[in-house]
């Protein structure tokens, strides 16, 4: 029997999903485990696969539309089944009287960059006046229609409450644009990832009392160890990066100072029994933090391989939510961009994050002799509810010791 199918909840924290691609067309057979569509959630592009054999009778949501879980997106059923009774309640909800032919809305062409974008007349007028490309705006109205509030969200128009009688306002606006003729900002719609980053970082900065501890550490020993290891690995065509080594350093330091490997909750401090390091990976439109599990128990090569694989998946947006959640400590490295030092924002519910700066050559006085040493700046951001200054300092000291005599990593 035909039934309306809502957007499945593809991860536990999913609040909305963007239907980036329908893998099936209307009328296609669907076999068990067939890919039905790809859905971009707050964390990754997820695959929606079939649990049962069925036929895709109708697509209700165009590609590119963002909807909440359980919003009707398709009708499944037997081939040739009459679905008109299902269509009308889904699609004519916006008509108090006789509904228009229901097919219209569902058959809207997918939102191609050049195709027609559903938008209300007033939005079209605003877009004309302000030179906004509506393809870049995400619609929240029925069928993805762009309505005024979507434009307001882009801060391209005064909020509804301030609407002056528009005859006057309109004239003012055109005068302004004629006299100054400066291009309006281009609206880049928020991706799910961007929304998530914004939400989580505001949450972190508002709720987590950050404090920061910095120290320069000498990395000559670590770098020469790396050089030796990479020489050994050269014939296998593998490599260990400085960052891979620092992941291992962080993990070992956490084992020595477990109080930093903890999370704050309202009732208790959760002392983590595993050491899972989140590694910040930059992407063109944001960043993700895939997790290296049990980093304290893994060899450098294993860590190197894993990070390389996770980063590749991240760039293809193929990371699964479980690969990006549940870390206990984060590492963020901007050294390769020439940043000497920076303070990172804690990734809740983790209790701390370390920011790694660039390797610098510095003059150092050793045994009354002036020589050149290489060092880098570590900055530890701590959640003061969990980690006190002394504990943070202790961790930093442990990290320094491990970096400066890296043979300890073998112990």
């Amino acid at each position: 029997m035909a039934q309306v199918v809502g957007l499945p909840r593809l991860s536990p924290t999913m609040e909305e999903g963007t239907l980036t691609r329908w893998a099936k067309r209307e009328g296609d057979d669907i076999a068990v485990d067939d890919l039905i569509a790809e859905v971009e959630t707050d964390k990754a592009t997820m695959e929606w696969r079939a649990f049962d054999r069925t036929v895709l009778l109708k697509i209700l949501v165009a590609e590119g539309a963002t909807v909440a879980p359980d919003t009707p997106v398709a009708i499944f059923g037997g081939r040739g089944e009459d679905i008109s009774s299902l269509l009308s309640p889904v699609q004519s909800a916006d008509s108090t009287r006789e509904a228009p032919p229901p097919a219209k809305k569902a058959e809207q062409p997918a939102q191609q960059p050049t195709g027609r974008v559903p938008a209300s007349p007033s939005v079209r007028r605003l877009a004309r006046e302000r030179g906004v490309d509506l393809h870049a705006v995400q619609g929240s109205g029925p069928g993805g229609r762009i309505v005024q509030r979507d434009m307001e969200r882009l801060a391209l128009q005064p909020s509804g409450t301030e609407n002056a009688p528009l005859a006057g306002a309109r004239a003012d606006r055109s005068e302004v644009s004629a006299s100054t003729a400066r291009p309006a900002p281009v609206a880049v719609p928020l991706s799910s990832m961007r929304r998530t980053i914004a939400r989580r970082l505001v949450e972190s900065k508002q709720n987590v009392p950050h404090f920061y501890l910095s120290a320069d550490v000498r990395v000559d020993a670590l770098l020469s160890t790396r050089q030796e290891l990479n020489a050994l690995l050269a014939e296998k065509n593998e490599k260990i990066s400085l960052n891979d080594m620092l992941i291992r350093v962080c993990a070992s330091a956490l084992r020595r100072v477990p109080s930093v490997n903890a999370s704050f909750t309202d009732d208790a401090i959760l002392q983590h029994q595993v050491i899972d390091i989140s590694v910040a990976v930059a992407l063109p439109d944001g960043l993700v933090t895939p997790v290296v599990r049990d980093a304290d128990k893994k060899g450098l090569l294993e860590i190197a391989r894993e990070v390389r694989e996770l980063a590749a998946q991240a760039r293809q947006k193929k990371l699964k939510p479980e690969q990006m959640s549940g870390g206990t400590f984060s590492i963020s490295n901007l050294g390769m961009y020439g940043v000497d030092e920076f303070a990172a924002v804690i990734n809740p519910p983790e209790g701390a994050i370390v920011a790694v700066g660039a390797v610098r050559e510095v003059p150092a006085l050793r045994d009354n002799e002036l020589r050149t040493e290489r060092c880098l700046r570590l900055t530890l951001s701590c959640d003061h509810r969990v980690v006190d200054g002394a504990a943070g300092a202790e961790w930093l000291a442990a990290a320094r010791q491990l970096i400066e005599s890296p043979l300890q990593l073998m112990l």
Partner: protein, 315 residues
Amino acid sequence: MSEEMERDDRVFVIGEEVGYYQGAYKVTQGLLERFGERRVVDAPIAEAGFAGLAVGAAMVGLRPIVEFMTWNFSLVAFDQIVNNAAKMHQMSAGQLRVPVVFRGPNASARQVAAQHSHAVEPFYCNVPGLRVVYPSTPRDAKGLLKTAIRDDSPVVFLEGETLYGLQGDVPEPEADELIPFGSAKLVREGHHVTVVSFGRPMPMLTKLADELEREGISLELIDARSLRPLDTATIVASVKKTNRCVVVHEHWPYGGPGAEIVDCVQREAFDYLDAPILRASNLDVPMPYALELENEVIVGPERVRAALRQVLYLD
């Protein structure tokens, strides 16, 4: 009416029970005593007859006011109103004028069934040559009635049957306040959505606007009050401000002044609309007798709310 009868002795009232019974709804109470049988005329139960008589009287210089006991009964006088009152001016090449006012209670009076619950505004609004007004407050009723009586064209003057009990201040006779046709009234300023209505739903909408204000939704409420001619400028200006429009009317949904308002808004405010213009109206069935069913058919606050939520994209 009495003020106008005082002012102009060509004005007279004719209808069923308007004299000795003092009016079926007591609208003509005291008039017989004051103006006598020549100017307050009890007619037989024959609407076509006395409506025709009034049209003829108007053509030769009097200014009759025809009271229909209810507008339902005007349907037997439809020919007189549509073919004679409305057409004579044009067909006589301007030689004849028909300054007659047809008035009486309109729309459902609660539990009087399908034949006695007509909302006649769509019928008469469709006739060029007629003017149609539908006040919703005592003050508007007085001002518009005075204008209607002094107007040289035939006027269909609709009174909400259930609005007869409504009390409100009206100007003193000396004020002689006339409300011109074709002027809508901005009842309440708001910024989220324009609600246009007329006649009986108005008190319900005023109450609803109060409720919605508390819920954070601000209605701009317009009483069209003159349906033909229609004050499109006031309505369009408001929709340009709010970008949304819901039309509420008690007549049936197919066509009529409600649809006319939608048409004018979509034409003149097209580039300002953020949502389709919706209507909330009676359901499209003959009025049932049973109270529960009647309540279901007549437009009420829930149907208006649903339309408002939709144009505000709140669902």
